[in-house]
């Protein structure tokens, strides 16, 4: 009777987990997670399911089985549910904590601990003959295999970290003229760019001065920059796959959207070789554009990049400076 119940419990767990993982998990992980259709609700449902069938059917699974289920569900959470995926070093730490928790649960009183130990002891002393044979052969084989793996020479390419947006210098010299980056403005930003969202480059270039600059900037971009930064300005140009670091994606909110135009001016003018060491200047394919473009062409390209992506450059503390003035009042 008891054995039957344990078997039911095992079957319900395996079948349930299978159904959950292969059928429900894809449903609960759509591209745009909602308040209900998300991975964490899915996990809660899984836990509720496991508790529910045990209570409703009054299965009372043995302690050892309970403990392994708890441990396994925890492992599943860190392995498959938690998002974004955590690195294995962190997962080991989390699983250590989880194992300690499980162990505390087992050892809450001597009776449960004894109950938990029972199948283990029975396996060791040979009451469960088959289990003992399997475990006692499998474990040494595993140990041998692990030794083999650790002795086999393996090489992974070294991981290299780099600073994507290094601190800019105070001044920069371009085409013989020295610029102080603090407060430096784009001379072609003569108007609010959002007004020109529905304007046509080339067609309206004669009518609107701003669009003329955008057209000129875009022309330079599509003669020089798109090979790496892409026709869509998303860093996926036709040569992008070659270079490491990969070209910047201007559509992403982490690049030009959070930078000042003066920073871009410095980056474009000085290129890869102008980077400090923490940004790996030796492998950046970004040309020092002062070698190929005029100063005004650099500014026009920057103007174009903001117009095309719809981002606004970060400004020079207009908010904070106006704020401090208000305080004085």
């Amino acid at each position: 009777m008891n054995n039957n119940k344990s078997l039911t419990s095992v079957i319900l767990l395996l079948v349930g987990c299978g159904v959950f993982h292969y059928l429900l998990f894809p449903i609960f992980t759509p591209k745009e997670p909602g308040w209900f259709l998300n991975r964490y609700v899915y996990f809660l449902l899984l836990v509720v399911y496991i508790i529910a069938y045990n209570i409703i059917l009054n299965l009372k699974p043995p302690m050892f089985f309970k403990a392994t289920t708890v441990w396994g569900v925890g492992y599943y959470f860190y392995d498959a549910v938690l998002h974004p995926h955590i690195p294995w070093t962190l997962r080991i730490t989390y699983m250590m904590l989880w194992s300690i928790g499980t162990f505390l649960y087992i050892t809450q009183d001597p009776v449960t601990f004894k109950e938990f130990r029972k199948p283990i002891v029975k396996t060791i002393v040979g009451d469960y003959r088959m289990a003992r044979i399997v475990v006692f052969i499998a474990l040494p084989v595993l140990v041998g295999f692990a030794t083999y793996q650790s002795l086999l020479p393996k090489f992974e390419e070294p991981v290299e970290l780099r600073t994507v947006h290094p601190a800019p210098p105070a001044t920069t010299k371009v085409h013989g003229k020295s610029y102080t980056l603090e407060g430096l403005q784009n001379p072609f930003r003569i108007d609010e760019q959002d007004k020109y969202k529905d304007s046509f480059p080339f067609l309206d270039a004669d009518k609107q001065e701003y669009v003329k600059y955008i057209t000129e900037g875009g022309t330079i971009f599509f003669q020089n920059c798109h090979y790496c930064h892409g026709d869509q300005l998303n860093g996926l140009g036709m040569f992008a796959h070659v270079f490491n670091p990969t070209p910047a994606n201007f559509v992403d909110s982490g690049t030009i959207a959070m930078l000042r135009e003066s920073f871009l001016f410095w980056r474009v003018a000085k290129g890869g070789p102008g980077l400090p060491n923490e940004s790996t200047p030796w492998s950046s394919a970004m040309p020092p554009w002062e070698e190929h473009l005029k100063t005004e062409e650099i500014w026009k390209v920057i103007l174009f990049e903001y117009w095309y992506t719809g981002w606004h450059p970060r400004t020079f503390d207009e908010e904070s400076s106006s704020g401090s003035e208000k305080k004085k009042e």
Binding site: G126, A146, P153, F222, Y227, Q232, F239, G272
Partner: protein, 575 residues
Amino acid sequence: MINQMNKVWKRLLLLAVLTAAFALPGASWAAEKPDAVKKDLLEKGKKVYFKRCVWCHGVEGGGDGPSADRLFTRPRNFNQGTFKIRATDSGHLPLESDLVQTVKNGLPGSAMPAWGEVLSEDEVVAVVNFVKTLLVDRSFDDADEEVEVQQFGEMPWKTEKGPLKEQNLYLGGPREAIDQGREVFIKNKCFECHGGMGRGDGNPTMKDDWGFPILAADWQQCWNFRGSRRDPYNPGNIVRAISTGLNGTPMPNFREQITVEDRWKIAAFVNSLCPRKKIDKLTNKPINDFLISSMYTKEAVAKKIDDPMWQAPDDDPKLVKRAKDYPGTLNKKHYIGMAGQITRGDRNFKPKVDNLWVSSRWNPDEKAVYYLVEYHNRFLPTTPEFPEGVAIQWPSKLQDLYGAEKPYFIYGDPKKPVDIWKAVLLPKDYNPTAPPKDDGFQLDVHVEELNGAGFDKVEKKKTPPTVEIVDSVFKQGRVKVLFRRSLETANKDTDVQIPSEKFIPVSFMQWSGVNKEKNEHMAISTWYYTILEPTIPDSIYYMPPIMAVTFLVLEGWLVWMTKRTRRMYDEGKVN
């Protein structure tokens, strides 16, 4: 009454045509009207066009936007209504769905990106309809225009997806189909343009409809197929190209000459040529192998490229297991992406070579390392003024590099110079129109050892030569060069000294003579790492059993202990 009779006749006619279409394999559908321009979408389409497309395709769609002159292949000129990738017959206008697919998936191997993730479905349809209005010489609304949609049939065999979740590798096309496809390929003289091994090295003089030079597709780099729809291993794309031809190019259709079944067999053959690699979803190119491992070789390293020691399939060994009877013993070939040097000095916007394949061995007794560099180039130069070249670049002084530091990847910099081994090649008794030779063309080859301290500060070394090219060949559109150098040299100032078991930065350069490439006008890779792998330690053979036995003894001890404790319980000594 007459009207109804007409309808009946029309239906009968349609039925007859349908029957004919099914009865004759490869016969085309009846002519239809092209998809008319949807006028209500034009305003929206124009907006998309003038933000996204105008830069390459030009204000009037003439394929003459500002970028055009610096692109190979040039952007499409829409004015003639000539579109390459279609389901319709040669010379016909494309279906709207063809254009939508092209805009969504881009044209791999060219600058045309995939717009599917950037534009919404509505925007794509709108811009396609706007593009349709840019036709000058013909019109989608013309009453005389007809399109015949071609039938391609279904892939007649089942393929395996392969081990990658996100990418279908279409593995396991049947051997007979591949072999028969090869025969059809020879019978229909596909090699005249595509070359004997399908590397596109058949005809150096081809022009497109507008008189611009054009190259035949390299079938061994299917990720660059324009019509691959970002599904590079799908043979269906090849069947479409054979059935409809590519308008505006010398590629005709073969729907009269080759039956649908045979087109699928050619597709199986073409498809079998393309190495299976993991393709990056974003860039639609194989993922670079950033670590080039040099295989520890106990016996003498072969000095002939033909030796099994230098053979390995191009496939990623993790994706495709090599055949049991495969003679080659090399571990793997490493894929190195190449781009034009568009950073310094005389920039190269139109490189001819897209990638290199590099493999390596080293021998500790000989104290030497070998690098085999392979790449596809359809045609080699014949004049010594612009020879072909390929080079391996190293930091001259590894000991001076701190952490991840490296010299500048284009010829180094004054503080961190580079050591460059450049093989300068010129094929013997060769001209680009010569028929392919079975054992390839021998190359007149010499080594230039260069010392670089900046892209404009490159000098030939004056010290005695250390690098050898032990073998080289140019065969059917593929160059192979085998470099050899001893690990250490006498000149420790400007020659790199190569340690074993250390990660060493390395990068590659390539010059296409036919493209008049010279000095910094070249193709280049970024920095990679190479490592001379150590031998497998002997302890690997005896340590695992020792550990296993030790563990078994421990287990025995555990059993004994547990039994003793239990006995003590039973005897009531503990409880």
